[in-house]
């Protein structure tokens, strides 16, 4: 009866157009106070003393001395203080909050606060490793002996700022009985709840987290909001009045987590038939001042080492380095974009160095069903990359353009990336750490309520997850209700990250809905709880990083065409074509919306979005100097979704959100490389870098 591909109206479309949708900044409670953070102005040192002016009535200081129990924000790695007490480790580190009724008075108070530091020399290079990982496949040493050629290159990637248009923000208040309630812009209600429970030492039923409308997140609202939540929870327990903290854009840019800058060295061993026998990879990620999620980001980067290629022998190692800079964290792709950029450039460079056609060379190494993954798991499911590549080549007229643009003096270029993205948490993370649960409730009127912690941050989860349940139950969409998550009602269905929402949470909902359908009793209250169960075939050794790193993979091909100005070296995008295998599109229009947005961010990561620091001080601090694409920067895009249903996904669906990001940077970098006829080893490929490449020959 239902066609999953078919698009339905987004359930929140009306309220988002009319501006009635309530984001955290729009929620007004009586007697709400405002909070602003006092932050360190140096990158490393000791706080010697501080002086605070006499506070007017109704204004408060909240700092580490007010922390109820644990002065750390609970994350994967718990090293991030709620408020720093003695030492500061980056510019912008929170020291205290100033809370009160008038924002202008708060600003005035903050301008009078004087902090004296004993400054120390900061560390800004990748030298302090705090997490090391490694894995092997086959026998790289042995492969080296058979090789006739060794080629080694280093690739570098910069920061990227999520630049969601709604800045970070949170509102905290006490309910009767002292329950601490937080409403905020977030991706992971339970990350916040667990972090607040940890810092307050409260029982589970005394902390409540509610999601309002969220104005974009892209990973930036994965772990960072937990820090704001812990600070505000501390403040609200002390002051006992509602407190709101909305970040200004500059503060948001300067102190929230960003994509990890990376340095990746790849060394290939090649035989006489131009076959890559083995790759040795060394990955370095800059975590900033605290580790947070960085070790997990490192894993994902390392696991993507061979991208959409099969290489039999691997020696992969990686390090997370701490520096005295703003902490980096989750951002769409989660480590994979850095690696996919490096390997895609590397494979093309290898072919060029060997004097063979890069297209044919890459094709010779393309993954086939049944091949071993980088961690010696299996690519079990059918892989349709060859058809996808064929489609993308035809859509973009790739071969003709490659030939035409190779002529000297032509500053046009075309680049094509091939890529995969592992869906869901790495390895057995879903079953050992997340243990998702979903809850369906049917009332006496036969209205079905979805209780899950999955967040709609714009990607359309509210519409698509509701639709999955309605389709399985075979009832109209209107008979199913899915309100924004509230931890008092929704069980922990896991964070809204890792391209897991449709495949994992949607899959659980489909199973729960099937159970409800099978036991449906008209006019009676019914409740179904469904818990995640790992597919039997998954075998994973977390300590050795061996086995099936992901339950399934989504696949993609991106083609980007550019023109580079030979005078200003500015890059203009001329066309973008994409083909994806996401199993099955649930609501195709929504998927294409994700795809357009994903590649826009991915391409911009490759050529446009430039953020750097000088001794820990970020040089770009607002949307005036950190440039994200406008409507005039983007060319028309054409996207095709190919069906390749995944057995365990709802209606065959796999992950989509991150996949559409990861191929953008290598595609545009390869296009620029094609246009300027010089190798690109660094992103963003800014006009300055392109000039350097052209002039330094």
């Amino acid at each position: 009866m239902f066609d999953p591909n078919k698009s339905t109206p987004k359930v929140d479309h009306e309220e988002k157009c009319s501006g009635e949708a309530k984001y955290v900044a729009d929620i007004i409670l009586n007697n709400t106070l405002f909070a602003k953070t006092v932050r360190s102005s140096i990158a490393k040192g000791k706080i010697v003393s501080f002086s605070i002016p006499e506070l007017p009535n109704g204004y408060y200081v909240v700092d580490h001395r007010d922390v109820v129990k644990e002065n750390y924000v609970k994350m994967v790695f718990t090293d991030w203080p709620v408020f720093t007490s003695e030492r500061v480790n980056y510019i912008g580190e929170p020291i205290m909050l100033i809370v009160g009724p008038d924002k202008l008075v708060i600003d005035e108070i903050i301008s009078q606060i004087k902090i004296t530091y004993e400054e120390e020399e900061g560390v800004f290079d990748l030298v302090n490793s705090v997490a090391h990982k490694s894995f092997k496949k086959g026998d790289f040493q042995e492969a080296s002996k058979r090789a006739v050629r060794t080629i080694k290159e280093t690739f570098e990637t910069g920061y990227q700022e999520q630049a969601y248009i709604e800045p970070q923000g949170m509102l905290a208040y006490l309910e009767e009985g002292g329950k601490v309630t937080l409403i905020g812009s977030m991706q992971c209600p339970y990350y916040i709840k667990n972090a607040v429970i940890n810092t307050l030492g409260y029982p589970e039923d005394k902390v409540r987290v509610i999601q309002p409308a969220v104005g974009g997140a892209f990973g930036g609202k994965e772990e960072f909001p937990s820090t704001t939540a812990c600070q505000l929870a501390t403040a609200v327990v002390k002051i006992k009045q509602p407190i709101k903290m909305i970040f200004e854009r500059e503060e948001d840019m300067l102190v929230t987590t960003k994509r990890h800058p990376s340095s990746i060295t790849l060394e290939a061993k090649i035989d006489e038939n131009n076959k890559v026998l083995g790759i040795k990879a060394e990955v370095g990620l800059d975590a900033g001042a605290y580790i947070g999620l960085s070790a997990v980001v490192l894993s994902r980067a390392m696991l993507a080492v061979t991208d959409a290629y099969t290489i039999d022998n691997l020696d992969v190692s990686g390090n997370v380095y701490v520096t005295n800079t703003v902490p980096t964290g989750a951002f769409r792709g989660f480590g994979s974009p850095q690696m996919i950029f490096a390997i895609e450039m590397f494979m093309t460079h290898l072919a060029k160095d060997l004097g063979v056609d890069p297209f044919a060379f890459r094709l010779n190494h393309l993954v086939k069903q049944g091949d071993l993954t980088s961690t010696s798991g299996f690519f079990r499911d059918p892989i349709i990359m060859k058809d996808m590549i064929k489609k993308a080549v035809a859509m973009s007229d790739y071969h003709k353009k490659i030939k035409e643009y190779s002529k000297p003096g032509v500053y046009k270029g075309i680049g094509m990336s091939w890529f995969l993205h592992g869906c869901g948490f790495t390895g057995d993370g879903e079953s050992t750490h997340i243990k998702s649960r979903v809850r369906l409730v049917k009332d006496e009127q036969d209205i079905v309520y979805l209780y899950i912690a999955a967040v709609d941050m714009g990607q359309g989860a509210k519409t698509s997850l509701k639709r999955v349940v309605a389709m399985v139950l075979d009832v109209p969409n209107e008979q199913v209700v899915f309100d924004y998550p509230d931890t008092d009602f929704a069980p922990d269905s896991g964070p809204t990250v890792a391209s897991r929402t449709m495949m994992i949470v949607g899959g659980l909902l489909a199973r729960a809905a099937q159970k409800l359908k099978d036991s449906w009793q008209k006019g009676q209250y019914q409740e179904i709880i469904e818990q995640y169960k790992q597919p039997d075939y998954i075998e994973w050794d977390e300590s050795k990083l061996q086995g099936d790193a992901y339950p399934s993979y989504s696949w993609g091909v991106n083609v980007v065409e550019v023109e580079v100005s030979p005078i200003t070296y500015e890059v203009q995008l001329k066309g973008i074509w994409s083909v994806y295998d996401i199993g099955k599109a649930i609501d195709e229009r929504m998927v294409i919306g994700q795809a357009d947005g994903g590649i826009t961010q991915g391409v911009a990561y490759g050529y446009l979005e430039n953020m750097r620091h000088e001794k820990g001080k970020l040089r770009q601090k607002n949307l005036t100097d950190y440039i994200i694409p406008t409507s005039m920067d983007m060319p028309p895009m054409e996207t095709v979704i190919m069906d390749n249903p995944f057995l365990y996904g709802p209606y065959g669906a796999k992950g989509v959100g991150e996949l559409t990001f990861v191929g953008g940077a290598p595609a545009v970098a390869l296009a620029i490389e094609d246009a300027i006829k010089r190798k690109v080893n660094r992103i963003p490929a800014t006009p300055e870098y392109i000039m350097e490449l052209i002039n330094n020959e």
């Binding site: 479309h13 988002k16 157009c17 009319s18 607002n622 994200i628 406008t630 983007m634 895009m637």
Partner: protein, 157 residues
Amino acid sequence: MNKIKFNLNGQDVSVELDPSLRLLDVLRDHFQLTGTKEGCGEGECGACSVLINGRVVNSCCFPLANANGKKILTIEGLAKTKRYQILKDAFHIEGGSQCGICTPGMIMAAESLLSMNPHPSDEEIRIGLSGNLCRCTGYNMIIKAVQKAAELGAGLW
């Protein structure tokens, strides 16, 4: 303090507030018109777009004093019009809204564009919306939505 008088969404209003306040804050805090969003506070993102005498303006960079005697239209005012219905439907048909934080501003910018140029080309729409940042869509679906609105609402603008 002098009274500042202006027409807001069709009604004459007068306020006695600090004239250096940002129009954005006056709209949101004083009139509780929270459909006008703040994305950057520096005139880059356009989430706070309103129409002042029919032209799209970033209300975060517009001091209240300058509002005196002007006609100001916010998304709440536009939402009562037929043109808005067309724009909203077109954004739905083409999938032009995702997280929604830029959407009211986009719709204000589209209204301003279409009222000056009822049948814009793709390029003209891209220029017309270039002051409004969207991080979710990559713009194509928004461009198509404005084209669709021009088509569905032919004669309204």
